[in-house]
C-alpha cells in the first residue's frame, strides 16, 4: 500500500496525487522550470493594492492540476472511460505546465520584455534540454508534443473537449485563479459552486464537445458574476493599473536609452537577454529566458534609482517606494469612430506637466488602454453554428445545447460587450489640475457651436 503524495492548500485543504497512478507528476513538479514558478507572483503587482496577494504561479498550477484530476475522474465515471484514460497524462501535465513560460510579474511584464508566455511555455516543453521535457519523454515519446499542442491556442490537433477543459470560457484554469485570487486578495468575490461545475460537465451527444445540464445553470451564473466582480475590483483596480503603467513606462524609457547607446547599468542577466532584438524562442535560448526572474527585474529597478536620466531614476524610485500615479478620466473622444484620439486632451496635459516641472512629460502622461474584451467576464459567440465549448458556455435544454446567455437572459447586464476603456495616469502633484482640464474639455465639447 503506497500512500498518496499530499499537499496542503488553502483552497482545497488537501491536494493528493495517487503515487501509483499519477506519481510521475511529482517528478514533473520537482523540475527546476516548475519550481521557478514559486518566484512569480500570480497577480503581478496587485500586492501593491492588496497586501495579501503574494500567491504564486506554482500554487495556482498545483490547484489547476487538482481540478483537472477531479474533472477527469468524473468524466471517466460517466462517459467512455478509455477515451479519458488515454488523455489523462497529457491533460494533467498540461494543467501543471500551462504557465511554465510566464515571465516576471506574470502578464503585466510581457509588453516590457516583448514576450508571449504561451510561446515560451511551448518552447520550454519542447526543449530537449529542459527537465520537464525529459520527465515527459520518460512517460511517452510523444507526450511533450501532445502537451505543447494543448497549450498552443492555435493548435487544433486534439479533440475540442481536451482543449476546452484547459482553455475555454469555463475551464479549470479560470476556476482556480478566480477562487485563489479572491482568497489571497481578501476581496471575497470568487465564490461559486465550482464542485458542481466540475462534476456535472458532460459530453454533447457523446461527441467531443462539452456542455452542462440545465440544473447547473445557476452555478454557471454565479461563476460569471464572480468573474465580473473580480474584474471590477481586483484585476482592473486603478491603483494596480497605475503601477503597471508606471512599470511599463519605466521599461520603455530604459529601452529607448539603451537603443540610443546610453549605458543603462544593466545587470548581467538582463544584459544577456537584451542582446537580441526579438526575444522569441528562435533567437534566445530557453535557459537565458528562464533566468530572467522577478528578483532580476527588481534588482535592475534598484540600479536605476541612481541613474543619470532624471525621469528613469524618478520612476524607479516611485515604483520601489510605492508612490504611484493618480488616475484621471479623459474627456470623451471628439469622434466616437476614433475612440483613441482624445483631441486636445493629450497636448494640453503635456503642457500642464511641463509647466509643473515634468520635462520628460511622456513619462508622466500614461494612457491605460483596456480593450473591451478584457473587461468582459464572459462573452459568447452569437452565431449558434459557430459555438463550441471553447467559445461559449452551453447548457442542455430539450436535448439541445443552448448558450447560457440565451438561457438566462438576465445575464445580459454583465455579459453585454463593454467598450474599450482609456484612463490616464499622472503624478499626484498635478491630479487636481488634470481633472479640471478634463472637465473643461468635456464642457466645451458639449457646448453648441456658436
Amino acid at each position: 500500500m503506497v500512500s498518496d503524495k499530499v499537499f496542503r492548500d488553502p483552497l482545497y485543504n488537501y491536494i493528493a496525487f495517487d503515487r501509483k497512478r499519477d506519481g510521475w507528476l511529482i517528478d514533473l513538479l520537482d523540475c527546476p522550470e516548475v519550481q521557478r514558478l514559486r518566484r512569480i507572483h500570480q497577480l503581478g503587482v496587485s500586492n501593491f493594492t492588496y497586501p495579501g496577494a503574494d500567491h504564486t504561479r506554482l500554487a495556482h498550477s498545483l490547484g489547476v492540476t487538482h481540478l483537472m484530476k477531479l474533472v477527469l475522474d468524473h468524466l471517466e465515471r460517466v462517459s467512455e472511460a478509455e477515451k479519458i484514460k488515454n488523455a489523462r497524462q497529457a491533460l494533467l501535465a498540461t494543467a501543471l505546465l500551462h504557465d511554465i513560460g510566464h515571465g516576471p510579474f506574470s502578464h503585466l511584464f510581457e509588453p516590457c520584455l516583448n514576450i508571449n508566455h504561451e510561446q515560451w511555455s511551448i518552447a520550454v516543453i519542447r526543449d530537449e534540454n529542459s527537465s520537464v521535457n525529459r520527465v515527459l519523454r520518460d512517460q511517452g515519446k510523444h507526450l511533450p508534443i501532445h502537451v505543447a499542442e494543448l497549450i498552443d491556442s492555435d493548435d487544433k490537433t486534439h479533440p475540442a473537449w481536451q482543449r476546452a477543459l484547459m482553455s475555454s470560457q469555463l475551464d479549470v484554469d479560470r476556476i482556480d485563479y478566480l477562487r485563489r485570487d479572491s482568497l489571497f486578495t481578501g476581496a471575497g468575490y470568487g465564490h461559486f459552486d465550482w464542485h458542481r461545475l466540475l462534476t456535472t460537465i458532460e459530453f454533447l451527444n457523446g461527441e467531443t464537445d462539452l456542455v452542462w445540464p440545465a440544473k447547473s445553470a445557476l452555478a454557471i451564473e454565479e461563476y460569471i458574476f464572480a468573474r465580473y466582480y473580480m474584474y471590477q475590483n481586483v484585476y482592473l483596480h486603478k491603483t494596480t493599473r497605475g503601477f503597471e503603467v508606471l512599470l511599463q513606462a519605466m521599461w520603455k524609457r530604459a529601452d529607448a536609452l539603451r537603443l540610443d547607446g546610453t549605458d543603462i547599468n544593466a545587470n548581467p542577466v538582463l544584459a544577456r537577454f537584451w542582446k537580441t532584438d526579438k526575444p522569441n524562442p528562435e533567437n534566445l535560448a530557453v535557459a537565458d529566458y528562464l533566468s530572467v526572474e522577478e528578483f532580476t527585474v527588481l534588482e535592475q529597478i534598484q540600479r536605476w534609482t541612481g541613474h543619470a536620466d532624471k525621469s528613469l531614476a524618478d520612476c524607479a524610485r516611485r515604483f520601489l517606494d510605492r508612490r504611484g500615479l493618480a488616475m484621471v478620466v479623459p474627456p470623451p473622444p471628439p469622434n466616437p469612430l476614433e475612440a483613441h484620439d482624445f483631441g486636445e486632451w493629450e497636448p494640453a496635459l503635456h503642457r500642464l506637466l511641463k509647466v509643473n516641472g515634468f520635462e520628460e512629460s511622456s513619462m508622466y502622461c500614461l494612457a491605460d488602454r483596456v480593450k473591451g474584451k478584457y473587461r468582459q467576464p464572459y462573452r459568447e459567440e452569437k452565431d449558434t453554428e459557430s459555438q463550441s465549448a471553447v467559445n461559449t458556455i452551453r447548457v442542455m435544454v430539450d436535448d439541445k445545447p443552448m448558450a447560457i446567455g440565451q438561457y438566462l437572459p438576465r445575464l445580459g447586464a454583465v455579459i453585454s460587450p463593454p467598450q474599450d476603456h482609456v484612463l490616464y495616469y499622472v503624478p499626484k502633484e498635478i491630479r487636481n489640475e488634470a481633472i479640471k482640464l478634463s472637465r473643461q474639455l468635456r464642457e466645451s465639447a458639449n457646448k453648441p457651436p456658436t
Binding site: S153, D154, K156, N335, P336, L337, E338, A339, H340, K371, G372, K373, R379, E381, K382, D383, T384, E385, S386, S388, N391, S416, P417, P418, Q419, D420
Partner: protein, 169 residues
C-alpha cells in the same frame, strides 16, 4: 480592426447591410490576406477562419449604438445583419481611413459573394498561409470541410488565389 475600419467596411455593404456574422468573418479574413491592415488574429474554427477580434469589435460597436444589428430566424438558425446607423454614416462622411481605399472594390465583391464560396476559399487560404502550396492547401481544406474536389471548389481556389495575388501587387 478599429471602429473606423469596421464602419468603413460596413459602408461598402450599403443600406442592405452585411448579411451574417460568418460572412463578416470571412470578408475581413480575405481583406487581410489581400494586404489590408486590419490586424485581426484568426484561428481555424468550425467553418474556417474565425477571429474573436472581429466578433468583439462588431459586438462592441453594436453596444455603443454605432451599428444596427438585425436578427432574423432563417431555416432554424438565427441570421444576423449589420449596417451603419445614420449618425455613424455622418461621422464617416467627415473621417475616412485612406488605407482601406485600395481594398474597396475587392471588399464590395466579397460582401456580395456566395457564403459557401467565402467559407471554402478562406479555409483554403488559411491552409495556404500555413504552408504555401495551393494543391496541399486545397486538399487540406477539402478534408476539413468534408467535400470532394469539384468545379465549385476550383472556384473557391481561384478566389483564394486572386486575393493572395492582390497582396503581391
Amino acid at each position: 480592426m478599429n471602429r473606423l475600419q469596421l464602419a468603413t467596411l460596413l459602408s461598402w455593404a450599403g443600406d442592405a447591410g452585411l448579411q451574417g456574422r460568418k460572412r463578416l468573418q470571412k470578408v475581413v479574413f480575405f481583406l487581410q490576406e489581400a494586404g489590408c491592415p486590419l490586424d485581426c488574429k484568426y484561428t481555424l474554427h468550425h467553418f474556417g477562419p474565425y477571429s474573436r477580434d472581429v466578433a468583439d469589435r462588431c459586438d462592441e460597436m453594436v453596444a455603443a449604438r454605432l451599428i444596427d444589428e438585425t436578427v432574423e430566424p432563417q431555416n432554424g438558425v438565427t441570421q444576423y445583419a449589420y449596417s451603419l446607423k445614420p449618425a455613424t454614416q455622418a461621422l464617416l462622411a467627415n473621417k475616412q481611413d485612406r488605407n482601406l481605399e485600395p481594398f474597396e472594390e475587392l471588399g464590395k465583391r466579397l460582401i456580395d459573394e456566395k457564403l459557401w464560396l467565402l467559407e471554402l476559399g478562406s479555409t483554403i487560404l488559411l491552409f495556404y498561409s500555413q504552408c504555401p502550396d495551393w494543391e496541399k492547401a486545397l486538399n487540406k481544406a477539402c478534408a476539413f470541410k468534408k467535400v470532394d474536389p469539384n468545379d465549385w471548389i476550383r472556384k473557391a481556389l481561384a478566389l483564394a488565389q486572386q486575393v493572395k495575388a492582390q497582396a503581391g501587387n
